[in-house]
């Protein structure tokens, strides 16, 4: 497990992306014997609201946005394709059991490039046996109506609800009804690019500007994503144990400092431009 140690550094480079989605369904697989598809539910948290001296307390569920890394990956793949580069697809099989083609033209099978020279997608996202260089993380989302809500931890407040849908036959008979959870609103996520080269960061920046879809049902109008802004940050996290008494117990103090990187963004994009002219 020593390979995991290389993340252990208090300095990291973060690509922070702010987006908006009118309706998205980043769902976890449905539960057995259930017609409803849910997002990955985390745990209930308490929050405070109200303006007066006496604050009121309430509880809310928080959820994880799944599939952000997939959205970034697909954007990266299609950016590379438009510049005429052949990169890894997500599938490692040419076709499935019934003979449907899985690999679109312009891509090679996952990790097919690993023997000679890894393509840039394989370098960044890895495959079985090769660790990914990046990590994608988003603060959990919740749906709270109180405008004065205050949370103890980093939470994104969006709108979450269930859409009920019915499958019908041609003459209007109900075949099956089912529900799908969705969320809607402004949200942000982060990509940890500490281990990426400048060129790779440049590609990721171009890709996130071209993210269009995430989650389920893009062809039926769901999961459209609008990227509003991005920022490259140099983040230092310092954690210190604060010993309170002689009992040996301590609390952990955490200081986070974010410094925006401007020149690095320009350098990264220039590096990526040079790289793609060289390869394509």
């Amino acid at each position: 497990m020593s390979s995991k140690h290389k993340n252990l550094s208090s300095q990291r480079i973060i690509l922070k992306v702010k987006c908006y989605t009118p309706i998205s369904k980043p769902l976890n697989g449905s539960l057995p014997r259930s017609n409803n598809s849910h997002m990955l539910r985390l745990y209930p948290i308490k929050y405070q609201y109200g303006t007066g001296k006496e604050k009121k307390e309430a509880e809310t569920q928080i959820y994880l946005i799944k599939g952000l890394r997939g959205a970034v990956r697909h954007a990266v793949m299609w950016v590379c394709k438009t510049y005429g580069m052949e990169v890894c697809h997500t599938t490692d099989k040419q076709e499935d059991k019934s003979g449907n083609k899985l690999l679109p033209a312009g891509f090679h099978l996952l990790a097919a490039c690993a023997k000679e020279q890894s393509c840039i997608v394989h370098e960044i996202f890895g495959s079985k046996g090769k660790e990914s260089l990046i990590a994608v993380f988003a603060d959990p989302i919740t749906s709270v109506n109180h405008k004065t809500a205050q949370f103890d931890q980093q939470i994104q407040n969006v709108h979450i609800a269930t859409e009920n849908r019915v499958n019908k036959t041609y003459d209007g008979k109900t075949v099956q009804d089912f529900g799908e959870r969705y969320f809607s609103g402004h949200f942000s996520f982060e990509i940890n690019v500490t281990r990426c080269s400048s060129t790779q960061i440049g590609l990721l920046i171009e890709a996130i500007m071209n993210i269009e879809k995430m989650g389920r049902g893009y062809n039926s109008g769901y999961g459209h994503v609008l990227v509003e802004a991005f920022q490259l940050l140099n983040r230092t996290i310092e954690r210190k144990p604060i010993f309170e008494t002689d009992s040996g117990e301590f609390k952990i103090q955490q200081i986070i400092d974010n410094q925006p990187l401007k020149q690095e963004v320009k350098d990264a994009m220039k590096g990526w431009e040079k790289y793609r002219e060289l390869v394509a």
């Binding site: 993340n7 952000l68 955490q254």
Partner: protein, 281 residues
């Protein structure tokens, strides 16, 4: 010195068990909330693979000799951001909250009586020992045959019921999920649950009794006939199950498509024999 560090799990940790060793420390997840994290691969879009994952509080404990060692370890442990699989997808993130640093007792644990828990694997015997009492034989016989009959909860797990003539045994097998006063069934039920707990690891639903390993069709009629032929002797029955290649290809539960019926039966019987030999049966 005994160093403990406690944190809140922000996104689920994908690991098989809530207790494990990592970075030379003992790690334990408490106040567990179990979740399933699903993945879909391009080649099998219909069957999402479900990984078990845990939410709750995470507690790391580390034992060492000097205070400087402990402080150095604490510095590296506090830098850990995530644990488990799929970290690149945002899983397994942790926020560290507090901890303690205490002198240890001579036996190396934080309280004098606290001993470490050990997991022992169930050893699978090649054959049954020859000193079993008739009472145990009765439970073992039920244990081996119980899943081959239709009950209130499921059909025969090999689709065809073995043509066994012993009426009492037949009824016992068919009623093993119901509420009865039969002492044999009650004894057996505890071991059935225990064995199912051990073999059910990854949830992955299947529509047929064939598990994910199976690649060929099984002649269920012949299988049922063969089982019925050896059903009079528990020793022969056990050997038959032990050597059977067909039972390896069937699952014990439709919800757990990676389980094997053979493994379930063998573990069940060996648990009974272990307890019999320890005289706690």
């Amino acid at each position: 010195m005994n160093l403990t560090l406690e944190g809140q799990i922000l996104t689920p940790i994908v690991r098989k068990r809530p207790e494990f060793r990592l970075f030379g420390c003992q790690i334990r997840i408490t106040k567990i909330r179990r979740r399933y994290f699903t993945k879909i691969t391009a080649s099998k879009p219909m069957y999402p693979y479900a990984y078990i994952c845990y939410l709750g509080k995470i507690i790391i404990s580390y034992v060492c000799k000097t205070e400087t060692q402990a402080m150095r370890k604490l510095q590296t442990l506090m830098e850990i951001e995530a644990i488990g699989r799929f970290q690149s997808e945002g899983m397994g993130y942790i926020q560290w909250l507090k901890g303690s640093l205490k002198a240890t007792f001579s036996n190396g644990s934080d309280t004098p009586g606290n001993t470490q828990r050990t997991y022992r694997k169930v050893k699978i015997r090649q054959g049954l020992p020859h000193n079993l009492s008739p009472a145990v034989e009765e439970v073992i016989q039920l244990g081996i045959l119980h899943d081959f009959f239709q009950t209130s909860k499921h059909r025969s797990k090999i689709y065809v019921e073995p043509p066994i003539t012993d009426q009492i045994l037949r009824e016992r097998c068919q009623q093993h999920h119901d509420h009865t006063d039969d002492p044999v069934i009650e004894k057996f039920r505890k071991y059935d649950h225990l064995s199912a707990l051990i073999t059910r690891k990854h949830r992955s639903p299947r529509l047929s009794r064939y598990n994910w390993k199976s690649s060929r069709k099984i002649n269920f009629k012949q299988l049922a006939q063969e089982i019925a032929e050896v059903s009079t002797s528990v020793y022969k029955l056990y050997r038959y199950i032990y050597e059977s290649k067909d039972l390896e290809l069937l699952n014990e539960s439709l919800e757990f498509g990676h389980s094997s019926l053979r493994q379930h039966l063998l573990i069940l019987i060996n648990l009974i024999v272990n307890d019999y030999q320890k005289e706690v049966f």
